[in-house]
Symmetry: C2
Subunit: 146 residues, 2 copies
């Protein structure tokens, strides 16, 4: 596959495989160890191993050695700044699922500000003010391939 000019496609080269978003969901919610990812997700160890290395190679996670008392040094996985910015994508997916694939008992996780106010994911302009969806345009630049 030749290099993708579309940013969505390039993001998906890293994020688009099965389990990747769920691994990331766990990572941003504080999971760092192989066995904990496995227990939380029920994913096969070979697949988890592959997804973690992909995310490390892409700079979304970083390996950091740790040491439990009375055990040898092992690797843990921590979210990098690039990974932290994926919370916007995760938040957007969550919001869409809440609204369009609802779970009868209600949402299990809410998005809140530090002050406790409910949050949404939305388009904002350069002043940080929300822009309604129907005013959003995707416009092609001169770099767009013919």
């Amino acid at each position: 596959m030749t290099e993708q000019t579309c940013s969505i496609a390039r993001s998906l080269e890293v994020l688009g495989e099965r389990w990747t978003f769920l691994v990331l969901r766990e990572a941003v919610s504080g999971t760092t160890r192989f066995a904990d990812f496995r227990a939380a997700l029920g994913v096969a160890s070979d697949v988890l191993s592959d997804r973690l290395s992909t995310l490390v190679a892409a700079g979304v996670l970083e390996k950091r050695p740790y040491r439990e008392p009375g055990a040898r040094v092992r690797d843990s996985y921590h979210v990098t700044p690039a990974g932290h910015e994926l919370r916007i994508v995760l938040g957007a997916l969550q919001q869409w699922g809440d609204e369009h694939r609802p779970y009868a008992p209600g949402p299990t996780v809410l998005r809140r500000s530090a002050a406790g106010r409910p949050l949404r994911v939305a388009f904002v302009d350069d002043e940080g003010t929300e822009v309604p969806l129907d005013e959003v345009r995707f416009v092609r630049t001169s770099t767009y391939p013919s």
Copy 2:
């Protein structure tokens, strides 16, 4: 697979297969016909057929018959309101790719308001004001599974 309590997981049941986000990118940018999706993406026709039916079944796209002059009635695929809201997810993926997986010649597609102002995807509070990423919390509700 039993029903997922996580909204992200439920979104991914619909959106998480290979090609789905790219099919959606084309759909929101105006593509409606099977052959045009195929030409734009280079996806195999059996896979495209499968993804389109999944998206129709999920209410993201709807089938609409159309008739080219001098041809029989065929099906086209149009974005529903639920599909339109996925532009937030697509915008978030695009923004992340622009920043963290840059394409040397620069972005090929920009996010702009109707007035032409550059847009980002971000968390906003109930008043439509942007909240910085490090003030965002994901908090569990009482519905969260033990």
